[in-house]
């Protein structure tokens, strides 16, 4: 039974995932390598006196998709929020260890979380467009950055919507209220909104969990396209999704309720899904728990 499940997952995996390929010339490769790389060293997170994540050490390679997987409550979203310091907004959260973005410690005193978040965008679990027009939603971030020029804004809005694969559907109705869009369109609008500040990294917290299969497919296609220009870290409960869209997979697990969650294994997605080192990873991936 277990073996058949595993082979099913593996065959699904091998059908859709291609190895990471290097595109473009040497220069482009060098430039890419420079931005959007995270290095986490012994990262721990505590809510009040309770430590919920302990000792996470991993690298997040630039211009690739890293998937965080694991059962509910294992701290995937919490770890994700460390990367743009959104945990700061929740209060009573302490983060230990070091997190470096392109070599710079993002938890240092002189780092403004507000500026960090322009470099590290986030897309949330449920679509959360602002109650304003499609155009104003996308232009929201650039306007905060002080861009007022109409032509420049127009260009950013179009470019962001194109990259989020929404442009063709909304180009005639940019003045329409964002709430008039479907759920899947709203989520792609949120992706466009996050892209408009030109982030180096895009954090996605189960971005398709509230969407239907077709919208999910569109989001996944968008992610596959986006990783050419931005680093993507995606939290997902969907094993097939992780296998389909990610280059690297990290598996987190909280083995007992009174213990903090730990990083069990991190590695190339292909290897994680075909030949994981840890038996717990294999058990989770083949659907034996979680």
């Amino acid at each position: 039974m277990v073996t058949s499940l595993r082979s099913a997952v593996m065959s699904a995996f091998s059908a859709v995932v291609e190895p990471v390929r290097v595109e473009g010339g040497v220069l482009e490769e060098a430039e890419r390598a420079a931005t959007g790389r995270f290095e986490l060293r012994s990262v721990s997170v505590a809510y009040g006196s309770e430590t919920v994540i302990e000792d996470v050490t991993m690298n997040i390679p630039p211009q690739a998709v890293t998937a965080l997987i694991g059962p509910s409550g294992c701290g995937k979203s919490t770890l994700l929020r460390c990367l743009n310091r959104m945990n700061d907004e929740l209060g009573n959260v302490r983060v230990g260890g070091t997190i470096a973005l392109d070599g710079q410690d993002i938890m240092a005193k002189n780092v403004d979380p507000v500026e960090l978040r322009m470099r590290v965008g986030q897309v949330f679990q449920r679509p959360n467009p602002f109650p304003m027009s499609i155009y104003d939603n996308v232009a929201y971030g650039p306007r905060t950055q002080g861009i007022r020029n109409r032509d420049e804004l127009d260009a950013i809005v179009e470019d962001s919507l194109r990259r989020a694969a929404l442009w063709d559907e909304v180009k005639g109705s940019l003045k329409k209220h964002a709430f008039d869009l479907s759920g899947g369109q709203q989520q792609r609008l949120c992706i466009a909104r996050a892209l408009a500040t030109r982030p180096e990294v895009l954090l996605m917290d189960e971005p398709a969990s509230a969407l239907d299969p077709i919208s999910t497919q569109q989001i996944e296609d968008t992610v596959a396209e986006l990783k050419r220009t931005v680093t993507i870290v995606i939290v997902t409960h969907n094993m097939q999704q992780a296998a389909r869209i990610s280059d690297q997979t990290a598996f987190m697990l909280r083995e007992r309720l009174d213990q903090p969650a730990r990083l069990i294994e991190v590695g190339e997605t292909r290897k994680m899904f075909t030949n994981p080192d840890d038996p717990r990873t294999e058990a989770y991936i083949t659907g034996r728990f979680g």
Binding site: M86, E89, L116, G121, F130, G141, T144
Partner: protein
């Protein structure tokens, strides 16, 4: 065995009947209470209209609303209520200027920035502000606001529309603060997070997303505050000087509609023309406050639907 089952079955049937009866009685009582409120409101409107009939017939609504002289005791009496309407309007505008910025700022602070413990204390204080009798506000106004206004503007008397409006604005604060705060709270936190994640500060998030999203609720809060200010009687009677003349600025003495009714009702002949005119003034007040409350309700309901709260 069969007997036992039968018995228990019958008992449960009896219990169901009792429960149904209790349910019916409870429903009837609640329904009656609800209808009583509506009937009383309708009765007030009818009573006002009935007692206004004589004045509406002999003076006419147009000349009451547009007449600028209010000499109800001269012979023949002059019943131009325009100074009173204008007086109420001036006092209300001043109250708005005081309570909207302060109330909105307080609501934003409490909802978006204040630490939780501070919030609990300030909630209690604000509720207490609403419970203080208006005559006490009047006393504080006479002792503090009236002399301050007098010396600040070099006036002969500090009993002005400005003094009354300032105190009314403070009295309307609890309404404005608590309803605006509710509206801000109703804005989903996912919107705040989205804005913060886009590299906005908390303050930018507040004024660019949260306040616009709560704008209809804030509007309703202001309307209810206006309703409170227009209807207030005792404090304005003590603070505005009560001269029933057409005011040109807020630094003059005014008399409001409410103040006029309260001051003159005790001295009129029951069923007389003056008596009836005072009822017309009451009717105007009733219509205005009813319309304001209705508008606020409609707007609040729209906000509730929008956020599904």
């Amino acid at each position: 065995m069969t007997n036992l089952t039968d018995l228990s079955h019958r008992r449960s049937v009896g219990r169901t009947a009792i429960r149904r009866a209790a349910e019916a009685v409870a429903t009837a009582i609640i329904r009656a209470a609800g209808w009583t409120a509506i009937v009383v409101l309708a009765a007030i409107a009818l009573f006002l209209a009935w007692n206004s009939l004589r004045a509406l017939d002999e003076v006419g609504i147009a000349s009451i609303l547009t007449g600028t002289s209010w000499y109800p005791t001269s012979d023949p009496g002059k019943f131009g209520a325009a100074p009173l309407v204008l007086g109420s309007l001036l006092v209300t505008v001043v109250a708005l200027v005081v309570c909207v910025p302060v109330g909105l700022a307080a609501a934003v602070f409490l909802s978006e920035f204040a630490p939780r413990r501070f919030n609990e204390v300030s909630k209690a204080v604000i509720e207490f502000m609403a419970a203080v009798p208006s005559v006490v506000y009047g006393l504080v106004g006479v002792a503090l606001v009236v002399p301050s206004v007098k010396s600040a503007f070099g006036l002969d008397s500090g009993l002005t529309a400005l003094s009354g409006g300032i105190v009314l604005g403070i009295m309307a604060l609890p309404t404005v603060v608590s309803i605006s705060e509710d509206a801000l709270h109703a804005v989903p936190s996912s919107l705040r997070h989205a804005s913060l994640a886009l590299g906005n500060t908390r303050w930018q998030t507040t004024y660019k997303v949260t306040i616009p999203a709560a704008s209809s609720g804030i509007f309703a809060a202001v309307m209810l505050g206006v309703g409170r200010a227009i209807g207030e009687t005792m404090a304005v009677l003590m603070l505005t000087g009560n001269a029933a003349v057409m005011p040109k600025t807020v630094l003059e003495s005014v008399r409001t509609m409410t103040g006029t009714i309260a001051a003159e009702m005790g001295e009129v002949v029951q069923g007389g023309l003056h008596y009836s005119v005072l009822f017309v003034v009451g009717l105007i007040l009733f219509v205005v406050t009813f319309a304001i409350n209705l508008a606020a309700d409609v707007v609040l309901e729209r906000q509730r639907k929008r956020w599904g709260a």
